[in-house]
């Protein structure tokens, strides 16, 4: 699959910092897993970087205040998809300096693996590529499994997004520091940084920063979507397939996004918990595209305003990439830990052509990186034969969207698959 990159809009733009605004909203469930538990109460004054919510379980993570200010409200606030969900609203103190007084940098070398993993959880670090899966869970390796390779994902295969690209260009040293921490802690032999070959400058700069003797390799990858899906990347780098239903660790690999690794370096070397992230603001509907450091919880409205506002004809805003991101219901939704991009689209991308019947052309089969049969899934989903879909391995689908992208009849294949998977999972829950 080779969608047009659309990266030229922002790939040469240096990362800028968004000024602080007034209102911030930190949803308690902005990562995959159990929502966090608030550790502050309404009216309480908070410092920037202060813990405001604790992990609600193992597959959960901490939250920190993105600004110095006052907790305005803890309760149900409107989330990204338009539904209400528990969140902490903070009002920034307009007169505060917003300087972080970092926790003292940790002596990470003396930490045991368990302490290290707890620290990652308490730093609130999640997968920064978009999934927002708590990183400490990924780093927890069961007894008997040995991680041999740390694979760092700098593929950035989604069109439009350039935040990982800029991060590699502007903070290569931090990336390599973070890589060294994680590699040592996991006891892996080698670090491999996979970068799509359409970012030669990033590959070069990373190679220049590797000190002699450091067990790090930068591997240029073919430009194709979804190169950054972790199992695809393992196949590209090591030539082996992760068996269905298993995880990368089962083949001795741990995969992390470049943003995650830098976040780990920032916490262990500089004491900065995860309170901001890099966001690419791009798309045909945005006046001045940019790569920005955005405090978490910033309303999309402030981000867009900083970029000169929306052009006329804006029809849809996607949080994340155009292939797998989520549409946002309102400009008031906050930037989350997993928000790699704010992409503003106009008529051209959102006009829906007439849907034709499936002509069995096989383009979706050719496009599916997991060699599934998307056309059959679409047919079965329309007939609501969800169990049949399960028998044909619908849960192996990672919802990369290649099938919908490729379909000449404009059948919403991956959307139908999502519906079916939703139905199957929820049914499972209700039956206990």
């Amino acid at each position: 699959m080779h969608p047009a990159h659309h990266k030229s809009q922002t790939e040469d733009l240096e990362i800028q910092r968004v000024p602080f605004g007034k209102d911030y909203v930190m949803p308690l469930g902005q990562h995959i897993g159990v929502p966090s538990k608030p550790a502050v109460v309404a009216g309480e004054a908070v410092r920037r970087g202060q813990l405001i919510a604790e992990p609600g379980g193992f597959v959960s993570t901490a939250l920190h205040s993105p600004v110095t200010g006052t907790v305005r409200e803890i309760g149900d606030l409107r989330g990204v998809d338009g539904r209400f969900a528990p969140a902490i609203a903070i009002e920034a103190d307009a007169f505060a300096t917003q300087r972080v007084e970092p926790d003292p940098a940790m002596d990470w070398q003396s930490l045991s693996l368990e302490e290290f993993i707890d620290a990652v959880q308490m730093a609130g670090i999640v997968g920064m590529g978009g999934a927002a899966f708590p990183s400490h869970v990924k780093l927890s390796v069961p007894d008997g499994t040995r991680i041999r390779h740390l694979l760092i994902n700098g593929a950035e295969c989604e069109p439009y997004l350039t935040n990982d690209h800029r991060l590699m260009l502007e903070r290569p040293a931090a990336l390599l520091e973070g890589a060294e921490i994680v590699r040592r802690k996991l006891g892996a032999e080698e670090t491999i940084i996979g970068v799509e070959s359409n970012k030669p400058d990033a590959i070069e700069i990373l190679c220049d920063h590797i000190s002699p003797g450091q067990p790090v390799r930068v591997v240029p990858l073919k430009v194709k979507y979804p190169q950054g899906a972790e199992k695809m990347m393992i196949k590209s780098v090591f030539g082996k397939e992760v068996p269905a239903g298993q995880l990368p660790r089962d083949v001795g690999v741990n995969v992390n996004n470049v943003g995650t690794i830098v976040a780990i370096a920032d916490y262990f070397l500089r004491g900065m918990p995860l309170i901001e992230r890099i966001v690419t603001v791009a798309g045909p509907g945005v006046t001045y595209p940019a790569n920005l450091i955005v405090p978490l919880g910033t309303p999309v409205r402030d981000v867009v305003r900083f970029c000169g506002g929306l052009k006329g004809g804006t029809r849809e805003i996607i949080m994340g990439g155009p292939m797998m991101g989520r549409p946002i219901a309102s400009l008031d939704v906050p930037v989350l830990k997993g928000c790699s991009g704010v992409l503003v689209f106009t008529e051209e991308q959102t006009s829906r052509r007439k849907e034709y019947p499936c002509i069995r052309c096989g383009r979706c089969l050719e496009a599916c990186p997991y060699f599934l049969n998307p056309s059959r899934f679409a047919r079965l989903a329309r007939a609501r034969m969800f169990d049949e879909m399960k028998a044909h391995h619908v849960f192996d689908c990672v919802e990369c969207g290649c099938c919908t992208f490729a379909c000449p009849s404009d059948i919403p294949i991956v959307q139908l698959i999502r519906t079916a998977k939703d139905d199957l999972t929820h049914r499972k829950e209700s039956h206990g």
């Binding site: 069109p159 199992k231 069995r360 192996d396 969207g401 404009d410």
Partner: protein
């Protein structure tokens, strides 16, 4: 005053699409057939226009007649009716009465597509189904071959036969290269076969132009290259093996390749996505099956040509082929070591 926020849509990702659409893919096939259609005009004069035009008219009439009222306009926009009519027309003898061609076009769409549930649901290639109907109903007219016309404005008298009248065959008839091979053991020179200066159906005579159109379709990614390649390869290999046994009796591989409707069938009919397998392995099996059946029917059957039945038979096998050739799902059937 505060500017009003835009009303945001909530279409789910992916928002991007590749450029190809189903109607465009259909139109591409029509464009690809234009050179061969031009050759039909060149060799058979105005008769080609009359026969092909009648087929398209019949096909489009069926399309309009059986469309639901609300979608009547749209059913024409996807161009499949025109395409089916054109394909059918190219497989017919130049001297066929127009009313038969018209009926063939009507049957192709109504029995070949509409009763199955419309576009995408038919088991058999509609154009070939229409041709099979014509061959069964009008066996004489369908196997009467006229020589290439003298002038461009010449029209075969048989074209103008009144409805429900049999054709009046005027004077000379000729045989197709395959007919001559089968019944008289006479071999047509290869150059004539490649360029199309032979008797035969309207669009099948020029192998070269058909191939050109096929390359265009392949460049546009509109056709599964595996199907024509496997059909043509199978035909070449199978007939080469046969000539090893008896070079006199069996046609040479090159003759097999460029004679009859093989090019037209392999590139434009067998590749109809609706009626051919979706899986890559299935496409190979399908192509090999068509190739073997073509030679079997040509060499051992009662008819000189077998492309139509070969493709229709393999159309019938397509659901089964698809079922047994599903690709191995990523990460299944491998172990973690």
């Amino acid at each position: 005053m505060k500017k009003k926020d835009p009303d945001l849509l909530l279409f789910h990702a992916p928002l991007l699409r590749q450029g190809m659409t189903t109607p465009r893919a259909m139109r591409d096939v029509i464009y690809a057939l234009l050179p061969a259609t031009g050759a039909a005009l060149w060799f058979f004069g105005l008769s080609a226009v009359l026969v092909i035009g009648s087929c398209i008219a019949g096909a489009v009439l069926a399309e309009v007649t059986f469309a639901k009222r609300e979608t009547r306009g749209e059913s024409l926009r996807d161009a499949t009716g025109v395409l089916t009519g054109l394909l059918l027309g190219l497989t017919l003898p130049p001297g066929l009465p127009m009313w038969m061609a018209f009926l063939g076009g009507f049957v192709a769409i109504s029995l070949g597509k509409v009763i199955w549930g419309g576009l995408g649901h038919n088991l058999f290639n509609p154009a070939l189904l229409g041709r099979a109907f014509l061959l069964a109903t009008f066996p004489i007219a369908m196997t009467t071959w006229v020589p290439a016309a003298g002038g461009f404005l010449d029209v075969y008298a048989s074209n103008l036969a009144l409805p429900f009248m049999q054709a009046q065959v005027d004077g000379v008839t000729s045989a197709t290269p395959l007919g001559m091979m089968k019944f008289e053991q006479e071999v047509t020179p290869l150059a004539n076969l490649v360029l199309g200066r032979t008797g035969g159906s309207l669009g099948e005579t020029s192998g070269l132009l058909l191939l050109l159109g096929g390359i265009y379709l392949w460049l546009r990614r509109d056709l599964d290259w595996r199907i024509p390649v496997s059909i043509l390869l199978t035909v070449v290999i199978f007939s080469a093996v046969l000539t090893l046994f008896d070079g006199e009796r069996f046609p040479s591989p090159l003759f097999s390749l460029f004679s009859g409707g093989l090019m037209l069938g392999a590139i434009y009919m067998a590749t109809d996505p609706v009626t051919s397998p979706v899986t890559p392995r299935g496409a190979w099996i399908f192509g090999i099956g068509v190739g073997v059946l073509v030679i079997l029917i040509r060499v051992f059957g009662g008819l000189p040509e077998g492309v139509m039945y070969a493709i229709l038979l393999m159309n019938a096998a397509t659901p089964l082929i698809d079922r047994y050739t599903q690709p191995r799902v990523f990460g299944r059937g491998v172990d973690s070591t």
